[in-house]
């Protein structure tokens, strides 16, 4: 079945005339029909549109027209990316019927590269969560064990990619929302340097932390997708203006004299022993490949979660103020007055986690508390950034777990928001500092659940980071393992 091929394989096989885009799309759509009822990775599938896109790729191929990097590659995108086709819901009742009149920059780039967009994937409402349980449309399940969560908030993209319901997907990462579900679902997930990928059309959660990135089964696919979506966008003022390097051509070249930093703060307490062991083994692999392993210190990363849960909700409280039932989105029936229209529409449209974060963020910005919370968190942010700057003088990359645990059961943490927030303990500092971070699969637990290695690097080190990840992948076969899916 062609849905099991990677994006690069599909691209190459179509180029070689071995397969068609139409069959690749068809096989993905069939796989979705069979498995997605059990997983609920997708909020919407655009079968007809995807087939038309695939046919266009095949026709262009026959006509000998130039091919884009993703020609015929079936892709899933997180449902917080605006598209002119289908709804853009953010898995929220608020936007259940919202149809965007414009496409996100990344969506345009995917389509220009010839990608076939299969559908839009489930997420924690407005990307707020670490389990995809906070979806207004029901949770996504982990393909390795449907009793377990896929992680979040890009749980739909992670599950779809791991379950071969697409060749690759896009997610977004504000505090770990690409890397953590990638870890829990056993796939590759890359959060690029802030500013590398345009945020135009990504429904904002926390603007200074959000980045879109690839979620793929292989490092090569991550490089391929990043090549397509990265680059300056004049409609995003926070977009980095420099040209994008070539992520693909030197990918297989091993890195020499690489120094890998092990932060003392990212080990020990709270990490499942199986996770620690798998990470240690991966680090040992690099050591054996000639990497120098050095201890580093990130003394202020212990404040990461605290700073994150001030900055992210503060920005979110403002970013989500626009959902008020006036110009689009859910409106309460028969509001008594304007205030009631606002307050009732928002209370009905937003789920509990979103409301909690709006409350927290509003409080952190409110008169009398701004300095103690928001301003202080921004200063701590500077401290955390400095930690990384200093660490990257001693090492080229940092290795640590992506998630302290493997996938947990649905409902296990939903009663206690703080416990859920602590899932992000190893991932948030990367967003706070704006640096790139990546998950690669590095083992399985006894219970058969994936474990992920996180690699963090200095800003704009994606090219070398991908090579480092590829070194590992070449000598391991985790990425070839397939979850056994329940069939419809």
């Amino acid at each position: 079945m062609l849905n099991e091929l990677t994006a690069l394989e599909i691209h190459n096989k179509i180029a070689a005339g071995e397969i068609t885009a139409t069959t690749a799309a068809q096989d993905c759509l069939s796989a979705i029909t069979r498995a997605d009822p059990h997983l609920h990775a997708y909020n919407a599938v655009f079968a007809d549109r995807a087939m038309r896109q695939a046919e266009a790729v095949d026709q262009a191929h026959t006509a000998g027209q130039p091919r884009g990097l993703l020609a015929g590659v079936p892709i899933a995108i997180k449902d917080n990316l605006c598209t002119t086709f289908g709804a853009t819901t953010c898995s929220s009742k608020m936007l259940k019927n919202f149809h965007s009149p414009y496409d996100a920059t990344v969506v345009k780039k995917l389509e220009q590269a010839g990608a076939v967009i299969l559908g839009k994937t489930n997420l924690d409402e407005f990307a707020m969560g670490s389990s995809t349980e906070n979806s207004a449309f029901g949770p996504t399940r982990n393909p390795w064990n449907t009793q377990c969560v896929p992680g979040g908030s890009s749980g739909g993209s992670a599950a779809a990619t791991a379950a071969r319901l697409c060749a690759a997907s896009l997610g977004s990462d504000t505090g770990g929302s690409i890397r953590q579900p990638a870890s829990l679902c056993g796939i590759v997930g890359l959060k690029p340097t802030y500013g590398l990928v345009s945020r135009y059309g990504l429904v904002a959660f926390a603007s200074s932390l959000d980045q879109i990135g690839p979620m793929t089964r292989t490092v090569g696919d991550a490089a391929l997708l990043l090549q397509v979506i990265a680059g300056h966008d004049p409609w995003d003022s926070t977009s980095w203006p420099e040209p994008v390097p070539d992520y693909l051509s030197d990918l297989d070249k091993p890195l020499e004299n690489v120094r890998i930093g092990l932060p003392a703060e990212f080990s020990g307490e709270g990490i499942e022993p199986e996770v620690s062991a798998a990470i240690a083994k991966a680090v040992d692999f690099y050591h054996r490949q000639g990497a120098k392993v050095v201890p580093v210190n990130l003394p202020h990363t212990k404040y990461g979660i605290a700073a994150y849960y001030v900055i992210a909700p503060a920005e979110a409280s403002s970013n989500l103020a626009r959902y008020d039932g006036v110009h689009y989105g859910h409106r309460t029936a028969r509001p008594e007055n304007l205030f009631d229209l606002y307050a009732a529409s928002r209370a009905e449209g937003f789920g509990p986690e979103v409301q909690r974060r709006i409350m927290l963020g509003t409080y952190a910005l409110s008169s009398g508390y701004y300095d103690a919370y928001y301003l202080r968190a921004l200063r701590v942010r500077q401290l955390i950034k400095r930690d990384f700057d200093q660490a990257f003088e001693k090492c080229d990359f940092i290795a640590c777990p992506t998630s302290p645990t493997v996938a947990f059961e649905l409902g296990a943490k939903s009663g206690d928001p703080l416990q859920m927030y602590l899932c992000d303990v190893f991932t948030v500092t990367c967003n706070i500092a704006g640096i790139p971070g990546m998950n690669i699969p590095c083992g399985f637990s006894q219970t058969g659940l994936p474990i992920g290695l996180q690699i963090l690097g200095p800003t704009f080190s994606e090219q070398r980071m991908l090579r480092l990840a590829r070194m590992y992948e070449k000598h391991h076969d985790w990425h070839t393992r397939k979850p056994v899916l329940p069939q419809a």
Partner: protein, 501 residues
């Protein structure tokens, strides 16, 4: 001045102004949607203006430059670095429910202007700051409807908010300040300054320092929201001063000097009314907009903008008085509009005698412009008339050299309006207005006039009280006999010679 009687207290008025000026850019402050008015409702709205999910703002460079121009004209310090903040409040005309503004790092810092006063003098008004932000849309309340309507065309228009120190001390000064600021903005080309369209909105902040029973009592500041005419500024300030004073006199013991309240102006009733504000109205939760990065302003950029700032009304008025020898009133009229002053300067630079030129501008040209405005809402400026600087220059020259009389000049001017291609001298010729300086011809006209007016001759000769008047009368009769073509100077000489003979 403390007495035991209920003496009228003396007081000082303090008025500070907040002014919102819409900048006349092509596109909006943070996106490419057209910045214009008069289109169908919600027709100048793009995803950014609509505040759709996922949209991002990008700063309009021209808006920054226009703001810098005004800042420089107001002698403000231009910030080396500025940033953008979100100001949060919920209102249906504000789609994102926050306004992008500048909170603690305004583009323009402290400055000042020389404000011309009615008595011909001037005073310094300090500017506290000026910052850029985006305008909101409009909420319409149709009579009989149970709902209000929202039009977002105005949303996202670049706004420059200028804040003065409380240096204005009377309603008249407040109005004069508004008028001068409008003039400056029009000179700079950053605003059309059409008040009826809300291009400029004024918010006076008023309080009094009352000196009573040997004490100074400061009344609480009131801000009058959103005035969009100069008349309203003056009237609202006057009303508010009297209201605060009356409030003090009614309850001098409970006069609050703290806090600030907001009042609206009811133009029909001619009074300000307290606006009820929700408790949290001032908790705007300002924070730096994470979608926008700071703006660094290099000194080079400031200098480039400075070099493009035109001569402002105040400087021009001074030059017209000092170089052209105009009266303050003449200089004020001619510099009111930059286009008119530019035309005047062009004509003057072509060698037009300034006195004649001034008379032409303030006489026939002003009259024609006034008559050309068909209704109250339209204004026709002298510079809108189809008379060129060259024509003005030649016409003024013609009067100066005695080619035509001042009276004839008006007729030639009217001819030029109807025949924009015409040359003034040829027109004067065609119209038969060229002065005739022939000695014999002039003598003949004089004789004709004298023959027809024996009574005037008798008055001139015998009645000292009527001497001057009858000379004037006879001079007029000669001009009439010549159909305006005689040279008045020559007529005077011959006439007096004949009468003395």
């Amino acid at each position: 001045m403390s007495t035991t009687t209920a003496a009228e207290p003396q007081y000082k008025v303090l008025i500070g102004m907040e002014i919102h000026v819409q900048l006349a850019t092509q596109s909006k402050m943070f996106t490419g949607a057209a910045n214009g008015f008069g289109g169908d409702p919600n027709s100048q709205v793009d995803p950014v203006i609509l505040g759709l999910p996922g949209v991002l703002p990008v700063i309009n460079k021209r808006a920054v430059e226009m703001a810098m121009m005004v800042g420089l004209a107001l002698n403000c310090q231009i910030a080396a670095q500025t940033k953008w903040d979100r100001k949060s409040y919920y209102y249906p005309d504000l789609p994102k429910n926050y306004q992008i503004s500048q909170y603690d790092q305004p583009l323009c810092g402290a400055g000042s202007i020389e404000l011309p006063l009615a008595d011909g003098g001037s005073k310094t008004v300090r500017i506290r700051r000026a910052h850029l932000e985006e305008d909101a849309g409009k909420l319409l309340h149709e009579a009989g409807m149970t709902e209000s309507l929202v039009d977002l065309n105005r949303a996202g228009t670049p706004l420059l908010e200028i804040v003065t120190e409380p240096d204005l001390t009377s309603p008249e000064e407040a109005r004069l300040f508004g008028e001068e600021l409008r003039r400056i903005c029009r000179y700079l080309g950053v605003s059309h300054g059409i008040m009826q369209q809300g291009h400029m909105r004024f918010e006076p902040n008023i309080n009094l320092h009352i000196y009573h029973h040997g004490k100074t009592i400061k009344t609480a500041i009131t801000e009058i929201k959103n005035l969009n005419s100069f008349r309203a500024v003056e009237r609202a300030c006057s009303y508010e001063i009297q209201r605060q004073l009356a409030e003090y006199l009614a309850h001098p013991e409970v006069m609050p000097s703290q806090g600030k309240s907001t009042r609206g102006w009811d133009d029909d009733k001619g009074m300000t009314l307290l606006q009820r504000e929700k408790e949290e109205a001032h908790d705007y939760r300002y924070f730096p907009d994470p979608d926008l990065v700071p703006l660094h302003i290099a000194p080079r950029w400031v200098e480039a903008i400075r070099s493009g700032v035109v001569e402002l009304p105040i400087a021009r008025r001074k030059r017209y008085q000092e170089v052209f020898g105009m009266s303050a009133k003449e200089a004020f009229s001619l510099t009111e509009e930059r286009a008119v002053a530019d035309l005047f300067d062009r004509a003057a630079s072509l060698g037009a005698p300034v006195r004649r030129l001034t008379n032409l501008f303030l006489g026939p040209a002003a009259k024609m412009a006034n008559e050309a405005a068909t209704d109250q809402a339209t204004t026709v400026l002298i510079s809108d008339l189809p008379v060129t600087a060259e024509q003005y220059a030649r016409l003024a020259q013609l009067v100066e050299t005695g080619g035509i009389s001042a009276t004839s000049a008006v007729m030639v001017f009217e001819h030029l309006i109807k025949h924009p291609e015409a040359d003034p001298a040829q027109a004067a010729e065609q119209l038969g207005l060229m002065q005739i300086r022939d000695q014999n011809q002039t003598e003949a006209w004089v004789m004709q006039a004298l023959a027809a007016n024996p009574q005037a001759i008798s008055d001139y000769k015998n009645n000292p009280k009527k001497k001057q008047a009858s000379l004037g009368f006879l001079r007029g009769a000669v001009m009439k006999a010549s159909q305006g073509k005689a040279d008045p100077k020559l007529v005077g000489e011959i006439l007096e010679a004949k009468l003395k003979a």
